[in-house]
Symmetry: C2
Subunit: 202 residues, 2 copies
Amino acid sequence: MNEESERSQNHTARMARKKAVVDAAIARASEQRGVFLVLTGNGKGKSSSAFGMVARALGHGMTVSVFQFIKGKGDTGEQTFFQRQANLQWEQCGEGFTWETQSRERDIAAAQAGWDKARAALSDPAIHLVILDEMTYLFKYGYLSLEEVLSVIASRPAHQHVVVTGRAAPDALCAAADTVSEIADVKHAFRAGIMAQPGIDL
Amino acid sequence: MNEESERSQNHTARMARKKAVVDAAIARASEQRGVFLVLTGNGKGKSSSAFGMVARALGHGMTVSVFQFIKGKGDTGEQTFFQRQANLQWEQCGEGFTWETQSRERDIAAAQAGWDKARAALSDPAIHLVILDEMTYLFKYGYLSLEEVLSVIASRPAHQHVVVTGRAAPDALCAAADTVSEIADVKHAFRAGIMAQPGIDL
């Protein structure tokens, strides 16, 4: 038997064993219900991952509500793109990063107004996916009650998925979530002097 | 001065200092060019983050090419959704995870055919964003030459962005990238017995 054909047979045997393991894991995971995801950490990819799930959900004919709590400039690529899609509600709840407004009162009012709308979505069984983008900052600055948010998320419709993004997610938020990804900033183009790029960062 | 008004003034002063730091960092980051991003790690959010950037780019009127090297089932939400968008090329290059096909020859042929198409996109200045989804597995299994891929990425049009996703990105790939995010799997619903969910995982 030549070397390449031996390598090929070994590959087939190894992959057959791997398939058995993967198939068994898939068989064990049999529950169908809405999941609660937290995407946190300092690296690039938290909000963009949430927007990728929006695209996935729309592809399945699902209905989606997006609440952006911090970025408020209003001319991002994601907003322009998704606002022209069907089955989607897009709410800009903040007036910009909190160091831009510099007003605690205005930030709190914007956070509360956004949360009132998000709470309505989180009790609406017609909505299949709710994105709470950059919500973690509201807990950090004390603009919203974490207990209240957790309670509303816990009592949402059983099939509804929820995604919370933002740095430094509180422990209680991660404890309540089904899936938590921590995105580490190994390297970022911004620190090498490259501006935030349309299509990548905004 | 009452407590809330003092807290508010402190907030304003702290945010003004933060704004100065952020603005200075933004001023230093003045270069405009295509960036090369790697999204790796075992956590949920690598491919979905890439698809979020696709949405962002389309929102800015950019042209996008997506190459999916591993997932080959063809009925994912992202594929259904993005295939009906303008300015987008979507190529399914794999026939499924490599433990599904169990044929090294077929996997290599599919990888090479996909790479031939991706290489064309990586030399086309009309394409603004190229996604090489789950490409890292091809290096792991020896299906593609990392040196060749790095050389083609390095000589792409200057304004073109490239995103590579997949677990266990090789060190040389990360070294060549401008931005690297490592997504840690802190917790995953799948391990708690919840099936892969449409709109979230596929």
